[in-house]
Subunit: 392 residues, 2 copies
Amino acid sequence: MRKSEFVLPEGMIYLDGNSLGPLPKAASARLQKTVQDEWGQLLIKGWNDAGWMHQPTAIGERIGRLIGAPAGTVMVGDTLSIKIYQALAAALAMRPDRRIIVSDTGNFPTDLYMAEGLINSLDKGHELKVVPAESVTDAIDESVAVLLLTQVDYRTGRLHDMQALTEKAQAAGAVVIWDLAHSAGALPIDLQGCKPEFAAGCTYKYLNAGPGAPAFIYVRPDIVDTIEPALSGWLGHTAPFDFSLHYQPGKAIERMRVGTPSVLQMSVLEAALDIWDDVSIDEVRDQSIELSELFIQLVESRCSELTLISPRDPQQRGSQVSFAFDEGYAAIQALITDGVVGDFRAPNVMRFGFTPLYLDKDDVRLAADKLVNVMQNKLWAEERFSVRKAVT
Amino acid sequence: MRKSEFVLPEGMIYLDGNSLGPLPKAASARLQKTVQDEWGQLLIKGWNDAGWMHQPTAIGERIGRLIGAPAGTVMVGDTLSIKIYQALAAALAMRPDRRIIVSDTGNFPTDLYMAEGLINSLDKGHELKVVPAESVTDAIDESVAVLLLTQVDYRTGRLHDMQALTEKAQAAGAVVIWDLAHSAGALPIDLQGCKPEFAAGCTYKYLNAGPGAPAFIYVRPDIVDTIEPALSGWLGHTAPFDFSLHYQPGKAIERMRVGTPSVLQMSVLEAALDIWDDVSIDEVRDQSIELSELFIQLVESRCSELTLISPRDPQQRGSQVSFAFDEGYAAIQALITDGVVGDFRAPNVMRFGFTPLYLDKDDVRLAADKLVNVMQNKLWAEERFSVRKAVT
C-alpha cells in the first residue's frame, strides 16, 4: 500500500513490524529539521516557536483517530509500562472497596509486572489474578476492581473480544483497561463505541515510529476530570509555568502528561503518522488477513513440523501468525540469515507479523518459500543458528 | 573551552544552557547513523547488534563519572519526574514507620508534585513538609522518613550543602534523595563521598543532550539490592526475555530500568557526553565562577534597578545568576530580541546560565552591555515585550 515510503533493506523481507516497524523515509528529514532548525537555531524558544510543548497533545489527537477515540482523549508520552501504571493507579482509586485485578497469561509481562509493583507499593492487600485467556470471562465478578488485558496476545496473536469483555466487566462494576500495543495500526479499534475507561498503547510497532518511540494513554472523557494522577508531573499541572508549590491537575487528558516530552522521538512519530493520513485502517485489516491466510496456507501445506498456534479464524487473530516448533529459535535464526526476519518468543514460538503498509503477496510467497526451505532442509540443525543472543 | 563543538546561532549569546543546552555538532551525524544505519538497516536486530539494549546502562556509567558515582550505580531512562517518583517510592518503603517527607520551597515543583501524587496514591497519611531553604536543617528530626532536595535552586541558583544536610538527615534516620538537575555538568559532585541513598538528574541542561533527553537515577550500591521497585517494568526484570509471569528485580541498578528506552534520544546523549571525555569538571566550575562574577560586576555597577537574588558568594551558587526586577518578563524579551537569551521565572526572576563549555568572557561582556542597554534605555517598557507566551 505504501511500500515506497519505507526504508526496506535490499534482500530483506521484514515480518517483524509487530515488534519494531521499519524506518519511514520521511523520518530522517523531519528529524534533521527538529535537530538542526529547531534545537540548533531556536534552542529554548523551540518549546513555543516549534510547538514542542504542544506535540504530546497534537499527536494524541492523530493517534486518537486511528483507535476510534474522540478528540481530547489521548495523550502521548513516556513508555507503555508507565502509561499502564498511570491507568491502573487511577482505576484502583476508582474502586477503593475492591481488591482484585484480573488479567490473563497472554498479557505482555510488563503489564503484569507494573501491576505487581503498584500492588506492592500500595500495600493494601490487592491481588493480581492471572488466568488463562479463555477463563477471563469466568473470572469477572463483583469482587473485581480492574480488568487489565492486552487485546492481542503477543505470542499467538489471539484477539480478545473487547466489546463483550468490557461490557461484562463494567456490568460487574469493574474498571476496564485495554493495552492496544499490538492493535493500534493493525486493526480497527472503536474506543468510543466500546467504552472502556482506559486504554494505552505503543507507537514503535504498527505505527512505525522507531525504537523508543513514546506511548499513549486514552481516558474516557466522562471520568477524566475525576482522576487525581499518581504520576503528577509538572507538565500535567493546570499551569506548569506558574511554578506553584501544589499540584493542580490539568484540564481533562492534559493531566496524564508527566515530565518533559521526548521531542526528537515525537518528531519521528509525527513523520510516521503522516503515512496514515490517507490510509484506511479497514483496508489495512483486510489486506493483513489476506497476507496472513496466504502465509498459513503456503507454510502449513509444506511443513508438517510447524504447528499453528494462532487462531485459525482470522477474525480471532491480530496481525501476526505464530507457529510452535521446538527448534524455533534456531529456525528463526536460519530464516533471518536467508533474509526473512521473523522473531522468536520463548519457549517455542516463531512469530511473523503481516503489515500491508509495506508488505505484499510476493513478499509473503517468497518468505513462505524460504521458511519451507529452512524446514525441509533442516537448516535449523546447523550449530551456528542455536547460539542465543540476549534479544531476538 | 569547547565552543567549536557546538552549534551556536550567529549573533546569539546563549545564557540559557541551565534550561536547555545547545546542539553539539556531533549529534546530527550520530543521530543519522542511529536512524539510517541502525534502525533503517538493522531494524529489530538493532537491539543487539547496535547495542540499543545496553545503552541505558553504558550511558549511566559515563554520567556516573561526572557526578562522583562508582561503577554500576547509575541508570538512564524516562524523565526526571519519573526518576524522582522511583526514588521516593523506594525511600518511603525503607522507612515504613515514618510519615514525613521534608523538602523546600526552592525545589523544582515537579519534585513536590510527584511527592504529592505518590502520597495521595499511597493514602497512608504521609505528609510533605515544604519549608524555606534556610529552615531545612531545623526541619530534620526523627520523624522524617525522607529528605528530598534539589541541590541548586532553579530560580536563585542557591546551593544546598549536600554533605552537611545528608549527614544530618541520615543521623536522624532519614533517607536522602538529591535532585541534581542543575548540578550534573555544572559543578563537581561527589556522590560516593556524600553517601546519599538516591540521586537523580536530567541531561538536557548542562549535559546538552537535547529537548526530551532522558533522565538518570543513582542508587547507593549497599542498598540497591533491597529495593523492590514501584515502577517494575519488564526491562528492570532479571531476565526480561524469559517473559515470565512474575517480576523478579534485575541485578543492582538494572532494576531501576522500566520500559523500552528512547533509543534516538540516547544516541544524542552519547554524542553530547563525548564532549565531556577530556573536560575537567573542576575547570568548568572555576571558569563558570569567573564568568558569573564578571557578569554580576558588569551588571550591578551599571543597573541599580536589578537586585541580585543569587547568593553573592560564588561558593554558595550554582552555575547561574538571577536578578529580580518587576518588569523582568519584558526585560528578558527585549534582551532576547537583541540576541542575548536568558529566561524568566515567575514572579520576577531574570535568570542567566553560565556554561564555560561554549561561553567565554567576550560573550559575557557583550551580554552585560546589552542588558545594561535594555535597562538604561528602558527597552522593556515597549509594549511588544510584555505579551506573554506559554513558555519562556
